[in-house]
C-alpha cells in the first residue's frame, strides 16, 4: 500500500470514538438492530486490525447493504421520510467502517460524519443538541487530523488540541457568514417529513386525552409580551375549536365542512390598543397555532381561519416564531348563521338520556341562558366533583351520564365535554375549545413558558348580543388550576408529572435548581430567537441597525474585512511571537541527568561544558565514572556531533541515551551502605 494511504493505528481509535459519538443522539429514534450493526461493525474492524479476521468480501458487503435496505423497509415501512433516510445514512456509516482500509475510505467516512451532524439538526436545533454537536464535530476533526499523523501509536491529546484550535480559529468567520449569508426560501420542496409523533394536541379529543398529555413536561411554546403580562387566569391560549361530537369524541370542523360563504373569517371593526406578543412554537408536526382571544397575525405564512384561530400554511416541523395581536374584550360572531346554529347545537340522536333530562330541567328552572350557565357551574362546584389527573375509564356509550352521575372524577376535558353537552341539550349553541391555559412566567426574561401539562379544554357558549363567551367549568371545580396552575391543583393528589421523574420542573421547590432551570430557559429563548429563528426579516433588521442601510458594498466590506482579520490573526498566532521551541527529548533527558546529580550536591555551573561537568562528577562519584563518561560522550555526539557522521542512527542513539538516563540513578556511598 502506498505510504500516503495508510491509516495510523491511533486514527482508527479516533474514528471509532467518532462513530459512537455521532450515532448516540440518534439512538433513541433508531431500531435496535441498527445499533447492533454498529457493535458488529466495530468488533469486526477491530478484529481485522488485530489480524484475526479479514475484511468483508465483496459478496458479504453486498449482502449487508441489501439487508440494510430490507431492514429499513421493515422497520419504517418506506424509504421516504426523514427517519428512514437517516437510518440508511447511519447504516452506510457503519458499513464503511468495516471496509476502512485506506486513507481515502477514512475521508469518506469522516465527511459522512459531518453530514450526520446535520441530520441531527433536522430533528432538533435545541441548545443542547448544538452543544453536543460541538463535541462531535471536534471529534470528527480530530480523527481527520489523526489520519495525517503517521507512526503515532499512542493516543495523543495533541491531536485533539490541533483540531480544537483550528475550529476555534474558524469560529469568528463562521459567525459573520452565518449572519450575512442571505436566507432565501427552499430551492425545491423537500418531500422528507418526519414521522415521529410529537406530544401535543390532536384535532380530536376523547375523554382522557388531555389528562395523558398533562403528564409531559415538554415545552409547547414560549410567549413574550410587548407590554405587561396579563394575569394567569386570563391566559387562555386557543388552538382548536371542537364543534362536532361523534361517539363520545369531539372533533374540529374541516374547511370543506363549512358552507362556501362561511369559510372566510369575519372582519371585525376594532378600536383601542391590542395586546402584542410573539410566540415561538416547538415543532408539533401540525398546522394550527395558538393565540389569545381574537388573535390576528401579520407574520407571513400565518393565516386567520374561521372561529378566529391561527394556522400555519405548512405543518410546524421546526421551532416556529410568529407575532400576534389580540383583543380580549371584543365581541365575536354577534350574529350566528343558521347553519352555524344548527351545527353548534347538534347532538347524537341517542345516548346520555339522564344528562339531557338534567339539562332541560335546569334550563326550565333557570329561565335565562346566563342563569342556566351559572346553575350548571354551581352544580359542579357544589356537588363532590373531583378534578383529577387519574380519571376513571368510562364506557363508550353514555359516558357523560356515567361521569356526571357515578364517577364524578374527571379532568378538564370531562367537565368541558359534559358542560357543552348540557348546553346543547338545552338548545344553546356551545362548543369545546382546546389549547393551553396559563403558563409559567420566567422572571429572568419575562417570557411565558407554556408546557404540555398546561394543556386545557374549556367551553364557549353563544349568547345573544354577546357572541361567543368563554366559560370554563374546570374553574368551578378547581379554581386553583386556573389561578395557579396544574401543580397546585394536583397538590393533594401528588400526581403532577408523576411519570417524569427526571424533569427539572418537578424540583421547582429547590430555589437553586429552579433559578438554573429558568436561566437555561431564558437562554433557550435567546437561542431560538437569534439562532434557530434567524430569518430574512431579522437579518434585515440586524444589518440596518449596523449600517443604516444594506448595500452590497457594506456587505462585501464586512465579509472581506472579517476574512482578512481572521487570517491575519491566525497567521500572527502561527508565525509571529516567541519561538515556542518545545524542549527536545535530548535536552529533557540531559536535564533529568543533571537533576539527579544535583540531588547529590553536584550542581552544574552555568557555562560548564558537559565534559568538564562529567569529570567533576566522576571525581565525586568514582563508582559512577563509567556511566557518567558514556552518557556525556553520547550526549556530546547527539547534541554537537555532525549529524552526517552519526550515520543516520540519531533516533537509535537517542533511544539508547534515554535508556542510559533511566538506568542512571546515582547514590552516594553513604546511601548505599
Amino acid at each position: 500500500m502506498n505510504i500516503l494511504q495508510q491509516v495510523p493505528r491511533n486514527a482508527l481509535v479516533w474514528i471509532i470514538i467518532c462513530l459512537f459519538a455521532l450515532v448516540a443522539p440518534h439512538a433513541s429514534r433508531l431500531p435496535l438492530w441498527i445499533l447492533a450493526l454498529y457493535l458488529v461493525a466495530v468488533i469486526w474492524r477491530l478484529q481485522v486490525h488485530r489480524g484475526y479476521w479479514s475484511f468483508p468480501t465483496r459478496l458479504a458487503k453486498v449482502a449487508m447493504v441489501l439487508t440494510g435496505f430490507f431492514g429499513i423497509y421493515i422497520s419504517y415501512g418506506s424509504f421516504i421520510g426523514l427517519e428512514p433516510t437517516v437510518g440508511l445514512l447511519l447504516i452506510a456509516f457503519a458499513l464503511k467502517l468495516m471496509e476502512l482500509s485506506h486513507r481515502k475510505d477514512a475521508y469518506v467516512l469522516l465527511f459522512l460524519g459531518y453530514f450526520i451532524c446535520i441530520t441531527e439538526f433536522l430533528f432538533s436545533q435545541s441548545l443542547l443538541v448544538a452543544l453536543y454537536a460541538l463535541v462531535s464535530i471536534t471529534l470528527v476533526t480530530a480523527a481527520l487530523v489523526a489520519i495525517h499523523r503517521p507512526g503515532e501509536q499512542e493516543f495523543k491529546v495533541g491531536t485533539l488540541c490541533v483540531a480544537s484550535v483550528m475550529l476555534m480559529q474558524a469560529m469568528p468567520l463562521m459567525i459573520v457568514l452565518f449572519f450575512l449569508f442571505p436566507r432565501f426560501g427552499p430551492l425545491w420542496t423537500v418531500p422528507i417529513k418526519s414521522h415521529t409523533a410529537k406530544t401535543g394536541m390532536s384535532d380530536f379529543m376523547k375523554p382522557g386525552d388531555v389528562a395523558s398529555l398533562s403528564q409531559s413536561a415538554d415545552v409547547a411554546f414560549r410567549a413574550k409580551f410587548d407590554g405587561d403580562i396579563p394575569v394567569k387566569s386570563a391566559l387562555y391560549w386557543r388552538g382548536l375549536v371542537f364543534s362536532r361530537i361523534e361517539q363520545g369524541a369531539w372533533s374540529a370542523l374541516g374547511l370543506y365542512d363549512l358552507p362556501a360563504n362561511q369559510r372566510r373569517p369575519e372582519e371585525i371593526i376594532t378600536d383601542g390598543e391590542p395586546m402584542r406578543y410573539s410566540i415561538i412554537m416547538e415543532p408539533t408536526q401540525q398546522k394550527w397555532l395558538y393565540g389569545l382571544k381574537y388573535a390576528r397575525s401579520d407574520t407571513p405564512g400565518v393565516m386567520q381561519t374561521v372561529d378566529f384561530l391561527l394556522s400555519s400554511f405548512v405543518a410546524v416541523e421546526a421551532e416556529y416564531m410568529y407575532t400576534v395581536t389580540s383583543r380580549a374584550n371584543v365581541a365575536v360572531d354577534e350574529v350566528l348563521s343558521k347553519w352555524r346554529r344548527k351545527t353548534e347545537t347538534q347532538l347524537p340522536p341517542i345516548g346520555n338520556a339522564k344528562t339531557r333530562k338534567l339539562a332541560l330541567d335546569l334550563k326550565a328552572k333557570a329561565g335565562s341562558d346566563e342563569a342556566f350557565i351559572s346553575l350548571v357551574l354551581d352544580m359542579f362546584g357544589r356537588e363532590p366533583y373531583v378534578y383529577t389527573l387519574r380519571p376513571d375509564v368510562l364506557s363508550e356509550q353514555d359516558s357523560i351520564d356515567e361521569f356526571l352521575f357515578q364517577s364524578k372524577r374527571g379532568f378538564c376535558e370531562h367537565y368541558a365535554s359534559a358542560f357543552v353537552f348540557m348546553m346543547r341539550a338545552a338548545g344553546l349553541p356551545a362548543r369545546v375549545v382546546a389549547g393551553y391555559q396559563g403558563g409559567e412566567i420566567n422572571p429572568i426574561n419575562k417570557t411565558v413558558i407554556v408546557h404540555q401539562f398546561d394543556a386545557h379544554a374549556w367551553a364557549e357558549v353563544w349568547l345573544a348580543s354577546r357572541g361567543w363567551v368563554r366559560v370554563d367549568p374546570t374553574a368551578a371545580v378547581s379554581p386553583q388550576r386556573i389561578e395557579f396552575g396544574l401543580e397546585e391543583a394536583m397538590e393533594s393528589e401528588g400526581s403532577f408529572l408523576s411519570t417524569a421523574l427526571l424533569s427539572p420542573l418537578r424540583y421547582r421547590s429547590i430555589p437553586l435548581l429552579n433559578t438554573l432551570r429558568l436561566r437555561y430557559d431564558a437562554l433557550t429563548y435567546q437561542w431560538q430567537t437569534w439562532i434557530v429563528g434567524f430569518d430574512n426579516e431579522r437579518q434585515f433588521d440586524l444589518l440596518r441597525s449596523f449600517f443604516g442601510e444594506t448595500t452590497a458594498k457594506a456587505f462585501a466590506i464586512v465579509l472581506l474585512g472579517s476574512l482578512a482579520f481572521v487570517l491575519l490573526a491566525v497567521a500572527i498566532s502561527l508565525f509571529v511571537g516567541r519561538e515556542t521551541h518545545p524542549q527536545s527529548q535530548l535536552e529533557k533527558q540531559y536535564r533529568l541527568f543533571s537533576m539527579r546529580l544535583a540531588r547529590l550536591g553536584i550542581i552544574r555551573d552555568p557555562g560548564e561544558t558537559p565534559s568538564l561537568f562529567a569529570q567533576r562528577a566522576a571525581k565525586a562519584l568514582p563508582d559512577y565514572a563509567e556511566p557518567l563518561c558514556q552518557i556525556t560522550r553520547l550526549y556530546n555526539q547527539l547534541a554537537y556531533g555532525d549529524a552526517q557522521s552519526s550515520a543516520g542512527n540519531a533516533a537509535e542513539n537517542l533511544q539508547q541515551f534515554v535508556r542510559m538516563i533511566s538506568r542512571f540513578r546515582p547514590k552516594t556511598r553513604h546511601a548505599k551502605l
Binding site: 446535520i118 468567520l173 430551492l187 481572521v566 491566525v570 508565525f575 521551541h581 533516533a651
Partner: protein
C-alpha cells in the same frame, strides 16, 4: 545548465518514439519554461530553508471532494431552512480557509540539507542521504519525501530537531547522476490542501559502469612484468610470528599465546603483490565505449578481489598499478567519469 538540458534531451528522445513530435515539442517547451522558472525561483543549493518563496499550496482532490460535500450541506441547509446546518456548513468552510495557513505552517521553516550520495554501479540503487531540520516554532508531521522514481518516506519531526533520511533510487546513467528535484510535500493537518516544494539539492551520485563478466583475458598474463616475489604484510597466507608492536591489528594478535602467559606476539600474513596487472582500454578493442568500460570495471573489481595489483590505462589517463580501497575507488571514478563532464564534488 547541464542539469537543465540533460533530462530534457532524454525526454525528447524517449517520447518522440511513440508520439507525435510536434505536440511533444510544445509540451517539452512548456516544461522547459517551467523548469527555468522553477530554477529562478528556487535555485539549486545544498541547503534550502523553506519560506513562502519556496512553498506552493493547492487543494488536494480530497479538498475538492470536501468542497462538494459542503455544497451538498449548504443545499440541505437552504432546503430545510435549518440555521444550525447553515452554521455547520460555514464553520467547515472557514475551517478549510484556516487550514491553508496550518498546512503552510507545517512546511514553513524546515531546512533541507543534502548530505551525501553513495556511489553505485549503473543499474543498481544508490542511497541518497538528506537531513531535514525543523523550525524552532512547531512540530512537523507527515513530511512526504521523494525524488521522481526514488523510494519514498514519511517523516515526523516531533521530539527530535532533525532527522536523517535515506532514499534509494536506481541510477541509470554513468557519471555524476542527479536525482532531479526532490519533492517534499505534506497535507497535514486535514488533508484538504497540499503544500509542496521541489528543490534541487545539488546532490549527485557517482555512477560506475555496469560490470560485465567476460572470459579470462588473454592479455592479463602477458602483461605480467618481472616476477620478483616480495612478501609484504597482507591478508592472504599465514607466514609467521613476530613480537607485538604498538599499532598492530588486534585481530592479528596471537591471543592463545597471550593466554599462556607468553609475551604478546603478532601473526604475520603475506600477500603476493608482485603480479601487477594493467587494465588497458585497448584490451577490448572493437567494442563501444560503454561496453569497454563495463568490461574494464568487471576486471578491476576482479583484480581487487584477488588482491592483484592493477593499473589502468585509458586514452585520457594512466594510473600506475597499486592496491587498496582508495586506489580502487580512484580507478572506478576514472571509469565513471570517462568522457563525462567532471565536477569537483
Amino acid at each position: 545548465m547541464w542539469m537543465l538540458l540533460g533530462p530534457e534531451c532524454d525526454l525528447v528522445e524517449n517520447d518522440a518514439l511513440g508520439t507525435k513530435r510536434h505536440s511533444m515539442g510544445i509540451r517539452t517547451r512548456i516544461e522547459a519554461r517551467f523548469r527555468g522558472w522553477l530554477n529562478r525561483r528556487i535555485p539549486p543549493a545544498r541547503e534550502v530553508i523553506l519560506d513562502q518563496r519556496r512553498i506552493f499550496i493547492f487543494p488536494t482532490r480530497v479538498g475538492f471532494f470536501f468542497g462538494a460535500c459542503l455544497l451538498l450541506m449548504l443545499l440541505a441547509a437552504i432546503n430545510f431552512e435549518n440555521n444550525l446546518s447553515y452554521a455547520l456548513t460555514f464553520w467547515l468552510a472557514t475551517l478549510f480557509i484556516v487550514a491553508i495557513l496550518h498546512t503552510y505552517a507545517n512546511l514553513s521553516g524546515l531546512t533541507i540539507r543534502a548530505l551525501r550520495a553513495e556511489p553505485a554501479f549503473l543499474g543498481q540503487q544508490s542511497e541518497f542521504h538528506l537531513m531535514i531540520k525543523r523550525s524552532k516554532r512547531r512540530e512537523h508531521f507527515a513530511l512526504h519525501l521523494k525524488w521522481p522514481n526514488s523510494s519514498e518516506t514519511l517523516e515526523n519531526l516531533i521530539d527530535e530537531d532533525s532527522v536523517i533520511v535515506q532514499l534509494h533510487m536506481s541510477v541509470d546513467s554513468r557519471g555524476w547522476f542527479s536525482p532531479g528535484r526532490l519533492l517534499l510535500e505534506s497535507t497535514y493537518p486535514l488533508g484538504l490542501l497540499r503544500c509542496w516544494t521541489s528543490v534541487d539539492l545539488e546532490l549527485y551520485a557517482l555512477v560506475y559502469p555496469r560490470p560485465i563478466v567476460s572470459a579470462e583475458l588473454s592479455g592479463l598474463g602477458a602483461n605480467r612484468p618481472d616476477g620478483a616475489a616480495v612478501f609484504i604484510d597482507g591478508n592472504d597466507d599465514f607466514y609467521g610470528f613476530r613480537s607485538y608492536r604498538k599499532g598492530d591489528s588486534l585481530r592479528q594478535v596471537y591471543w592463545k599465546g597471550l593466554a599462556k602467559q607468553q609475551s604478546p606476539m603478532t601473526k604475520q600474513y603475506t600477500a603476493y603483490t608482485n603480479r601487477s596487472v594493467w587494465l588497458d582500454w585497448d584490451m577490448f578493442a572493437g567494442m563501444d565505449t560503454e561496453q569497454r568500460l563495463s568490461h574494464l570495471c568487471y576486471w578491476l573489481l576482479e583484480c581487487d578481489r584477488r588482491g592483484e595489483e592493477y593499473g589502468l590505462r585509458l586514452p585520457t589517463a594512466v594510473i600506475e598499478p597499486a592496491l587498496g580501497e582508495k586506489h580502487r575507488n580512484r580507478l572506478l571514478k576514472e571509469l565513471a567519469l570517462f568522457s563525462k563532464e567532471r565536477r569537483s564534488r
